[in-house]
Symmetry: C2
Subunit: 414 residues, 2 copies
């Protein structure tokens, strides 16, 4: 099945908004074993006509985002109806639900919303619980030579649920019963690059019949997606688990902070943080997930040496002897943090985020991380991440959190 995406929106071409829809569609369709073959961004207005005309003959499905709103340059609905020669009629159920939405928010209904209730003959309405503009599924029309079209509103919080709940099932039914909707499993693997992973896994996994591989790399971790029959995915999973062992953060799409939260909840334990170069980003990441107040009670941002001494009890002599960026100091920070917070685990970090502050001995990108736990040996190690300042903070945060994850899963840190 050939699929194209057309994104309408002047704001995308002006750089006011980044197109995240394409990535979302790409990832979700990949789970069905489908790929997007082309994507086009056009301004609001009439240009949709030319783009659709060109695409009609070469594709089976077109996903169109945006252009369904109430203003004059929202033309998608009208252009599609006209190209197919289908009449538009007013759909009372849409009008009712728009009116209900306005009423529940205490707003007065605006007549310009009526346009959003117009539906081309033969189209299926995709209701929109998160906004006023409904989506539309316009089945392929042999006479007009048109493929299946899905018209989806542009705002992400409207588009995503509509796509998952209403468009994906339609696409599945278009694929028919013969199309094996594959099983898929995600391995989130830490500390291996995408190309290394591909080089290591492709020779051993490609012989497995009916298996497809997907990758998605970000910030030191890679998602490896296995897609295929149950048997193929199971066989491949076994190989992946054997090869990457402790590097597998999770066999889900959960972020590291959720993995850690669940491990801590399971054990009834807590964590605290003592941060220098990350400036609070580790604590902030841990609290990104709801429920974290049970497992994270406090954190220390000790940017200056005085703060390390006063808040964590790091001795000034130790700081003078080894410098703030050293195993000795992060170990002392972690120990002080554990003691003063009463937590079961403490993460401590100190490094040189740059672009200034590096020396010959301690280059920009140097970072030391310590993990202290009530009943485990203190761990401290030096790492090197010579990337731009904000990327550095993000990467070393993942690194520190992954070390904690390994400890919580019972692996020995070394």
């Amino acid at each position: 099945m050939r699929i194209e995406v057309v994104n309408t929106g002047t704001e995308l071409l002006l750089g006011k908004v980044i197109n995240t829809h394409l990535g979302f569609f790409g990832q979700e369709l990949f789970k069905l074993g489908l790929r997007i073959q082309r994507q086009t961004t056009i301004p609001d207005g009439d240009e949709i006509r030319t783009v659709l005309q060109n695409a009609f003959s070469r594709t089976d499905v077109i996903l169109i985002t945006g252009g369904l709103g109430p203003t004059n340059d929202d033309l998608t609905r009208e252009v599609v109806a006209e190209m197919l020669g289908h009449e538009l009629h007013l759909d009372q159920s849409i009008l009712d639900s728009i009116e209900e939405m306005f009423r529940s928010r205490g707003l007065k209904q605006n007549r310009s919303n009526d346009r959003q209730a117009m539906v081309p003959e033969g189209a299926v309405v995709l209701h929109n619980p998160n906004g006023t503009a409904p989506g539309l599924y316009v089945p392929a029309d042999e006479k007009a030579g048109s493929p299946h079209m899905f018209l989806i509103p542009g705002p992400p919080r409207e588009l995503k649920p509509m796509f998952l709940d209403q468009v994906v099932p339609q696409i599945k039914s278009l694929l028919g019963e013969d199309h094996q909707i594959a099983t898929w499993r995600n391995f989130r693997i830490y500390g291996v690059g995408e190309s290394t992973l591909a080089n290591e896994m492709e020779p051993v996994l490609e012989p497995i019949e009916g298996l497809e591989l997907g990758y998605c790399a970000r910030l030191g971790e890679v998602d490896l997606r296995l897609i295929g029959s149950d048997e193929a995915v199971d066989a491949a999973s076994k190989i992946v688990r054997e090869k990457y062992g402790r590097q597998i953060m999770t066999e889900s799409e959960d972020p590291i902070e959720k993995v850690i939260l669940e491990l801590l909840l399971e054990k009834g334990e807590t964590v605290s943080t003592a941060e220098s170069c990350t400036g609070g980003f580790i604590a902030s990441t841990l609290t990104n997930v709801s429920g974290s107040s049970s497992t994270f009670h406090r954190g220390f941002v000790t940017y200056s040496n005085e703060a390390k001494t006063e808040l964590l009890g790091v001795s000034p002599d130790l700081l003078a002897e080894h410098g703030a960026v050293s195993n000795e100091v992060v170990a002392a920070m972690a120990g002080g943090c554990l003691e003063r917070s009463g937590a079961d685990h403490a993460i401590a970090i100190s490094g040189i985020a740059g672009p200034t502050g590096g020396t010959k001995e301690k280059k920009v990108g140097t970072v030391h991380i310590a993990i202290a736990s009530r009943n485990e040996p203190l761990f401290a190690k030096k790492f090197f991440q010579p990337v731009e300042r904000i990327a550095f903070k993000e990467r070393v945060t993942r690194l520190a959190l992954d070390l904690l994850r390994q400890r919580l899963q019972g692996f020995t840190l070394d």
Copy 2:
């Protein structure tokens, strides 16, 4: 001048990478008074041919990203040369600089890189100090019916400097001396929505001849860009300053943390933080900018009530009486933070990020912020930001930082 963008890269269509190039191009071209009319994403490989063929007749400039690397599916260079009927020749200067780059990194040069040194006849090489693949400027060719083409490598840290340093000057020279490269000025305005700003400013600014407006909204702030002749921009700036006054964070594109850093450096002052619901995100944001160690020494992440008492001296009675999410408690947090950190200013925050933890009286989205300063009255106020958890943390962080910015600029908080 009509401009189109073609992004090549299977990873974009699979959702492995988000396309940030389009936004970057859109914003930078807008500063020249230009707009992108269409953008297409295609997989690596031969599909570039069809897309270029279609675009040739309707556009003046095509920006093509990706497909310049050393592997077999990097075909942009070859396809363009073939379509124009231009021979490819080996450019020794490119080969030398690739070899030099490999040598300096202690790597062995790979013969597959030779392909990257092939240049179509008549093309101008855009050297790439940040990677191996050079860019190419292929001038319009009347015989082939082709527009001006810029071939730019895909990795953002290679693409961005090449575009700004080499492509923009070429485009300016194509525009010619007659084209008035407009003056532009950015106002970063806090606390006004994009549509409100447009409704308020368009009636008063549109009468100014030769002025164009651009907007870019994010997280509670809007960039208003004024573009036009010096006189038009000056006249409009006067109106914008009068209307928005203290809401203008900066007349630059600097992020709030940079604005704050510079205000603090100017005064020789420091800030500290006492965070509950943001979990360290305010401290982390303040330290995103190089040089922040002079103005930020420590921060407290006090997620639990005990932490608020032990680290900031907030009385348990006060917590019991008013609850952790109250003006009284954030005022006490800010006071304690100021005293115990020795800083000149303290930000304190406590709120309900959700999705759980809300009550009838204190709904999810409720947040209290206090700003304490050595020689100014203590400020504490309640706000309401009922958005999803991570968006909540981001928004209330901007809100708190903007209050500090106003105080540092001498505005009275109320």
